[in-house]
Symmetry: D3
Subunit: 140 residues, 6 copies
């Protein structure tokens, strides 16, 4: 059970109400998800998070579905129950099938394993071809 | 410094040598990366990992670049130094620019924050619209 | 469901009973929390943990409420369900309000994000002003 | 070595320059720390993070030093090298001594241990006295 | 609730069916555990994981019970609910008692604490006696 | 670089000196490792940790080498640099070869992967044969 209850939408006033309305219009939501309604108890924090959400998730070069997959991968590695449910729901709404989801989780399985292997043995990467971590992409 | 040294390519024989050759042909590598050369000291383990790599990373529905981004996201959340270097290198080779990389890390930043928030407060997701975690994607 | 059941208080004898009594007197507890009753099945381990608890949590320079907040922050980042409940309960007993709790979680949200950002990009800190990691506090 | 270089302060223009100036004035910095200069390559992201920093870290009920300790605790549990250096530096500037720092780390040591114990054995917290996770603090 | 349902054994055909039969014979299982039945929806992934399981868990120098304890330790540190249940179940079947399990968890508690301490303070190990990370064991 | 310097052995007095001497006698060390010398700046904390070390690591049913392997597995999953070096050093001293170490890391690789898979998909374990998490081992 959550440590703090969310604010009911009907109880929102002022800044919280304004952000809720903006969110629902921008995202096409019928209801504001619980996490944002918990944040709403500190309205200036809600607003700062929503502004950050817009700056990061809306616009930019990467496709929305790719960003949502990165969000889900992060949530899976962090073992965040709410976030796994929330981002897998969003991906399902974007049309993700069981097959794609399983393929994605297989990638997470594989690299969680090699992550543990190379961190565990303290193996250090050697850049091939005289290149380093900041070399530009070859197609760019 | 690594706990176990990698096998030099010239010292590989039998199964290890066979896997190294297959890897270089399949991936277009001039050299076998260090992590695989450490695994090679247990050749049947090297082979099982390589077979799994092929089953997961080659073929399937998700684009190679998307899979590599998921691999990098996993490695960043797991704080794996070798893996961050290795997957960011692979993405640079695929043409990833600083701008895309920064956009991707911004997504990881955002959801690492909300992950901590919702896990920390033990908030539980509520599926809207009578749907649940296994509902099929709407476009599928 | 827990892998090991806790020892009922009435079943405690010898060292376990002695530690339970000391704990209840020192902390003002009516009942010994479950985690300590699980530890009690290995009584010398229970005692060593309790002695360590006293050495770390009782006395010292930091205020009890600050220590409890650090304990909760650690538990939130480690996604420890029992510990989140236990330390938030302790803080509630010390008078923590929803507002303070939310402010604290906002700090955890923010730095979980920047942690992922700087670890993910392998950014290294540069000490300003010729100082280093062991420089003494300016007011001390 | 970092995957993306920071923007030099002298190269900042427009929004990035404006945020840098605001930061230096608000925080009393001679130089903008590297992490913010990396973010500056995506200026709207820099701004959103800085606005969020202000909403979370400036003002509120918890003391700045307590917030900084929570930030350091989070960074230590997340094994974030840059962040450990950065927040311990900030605390040193606020007068933190070796003794306080060691006391704080002892708390992190203790609860990292009990976190692993109770998560590992899947022990569930039992609220005493008919209370639950949202009960208000007794002094409030 | 799981995001993807497992394949029922009776629905398995082709490669999945073949792997299920091999697993049950090799492990003496009456039923295929759920995790493998989820993997079965991507049969070549199921097979690659099973082959890897055989290469890592069957044969080799370490005793099966020791490997299972390492698996449980990893699962406890990673806070993986399914895996804690699954590996503790396997160890119970091998005869592990509450006393051994508690002793094992005490080790995990202790080193989770010292891990946080030394990572938190960025303490670096100093090899005694002129030795380094790859020096061979003294009895080998 | 460490945030706090260790106490030199020659500077130890009182309780710290007593614990150092006891440690060196009990463990056969020529020098007290750095981590304990950092703890020594808070002597009652040093003593409580050493007492706990004795209660957990000395005596009991599990073999010392098995405990050390569990300690190393925990340290690898927690990405603790000092601890990986320290416990792999201890295991090397006990005769561990590259082959055993690689076999152990392969186990960690495998289950780090399945941990991420089952946590990521929120798969729940089903106890076979009417058994549950606290059923006693079959041989006990």
């Amino acid at each position: 059970m959550a440590l703090i209850e969310g604010m009911a939408e009907k109880d929102a006033t002022g800044l919280a109400k304004k952000v809720f309305e903006e969110m629902k219009a921008a995202r096409g939501w019928d209801e504001v998800p619980l996490i944002w309604r918990v944040m709403a108890k500190k309205p200036e924090y809600l607003k700062a998070n929503w502004d950050r959400y817009k700056a990061i998730m809306m616009g930019g070069m990467l496709e929305p579905k790719v960003k949502e997959m990165i969000a889900l991968a992060v949530s899976m590695v962090n073992r965040c129950s709410y976030c796994i449910d929330s981002h897998s729901f969003a991906l399902r709404q974007m049309g993700m099938t069981d097959e794609e989801l399983l393929e994605m989780v297989a990638v997470i399985d594989f690299f969680s394993g090699t992550n543990a292997f190379s961190s565990g043995l303290k193996v250090e990467f050697q850049w091939p071809q005289g290149l380093g971590p900041t070399h530009p992409g070859v197609d760019s």
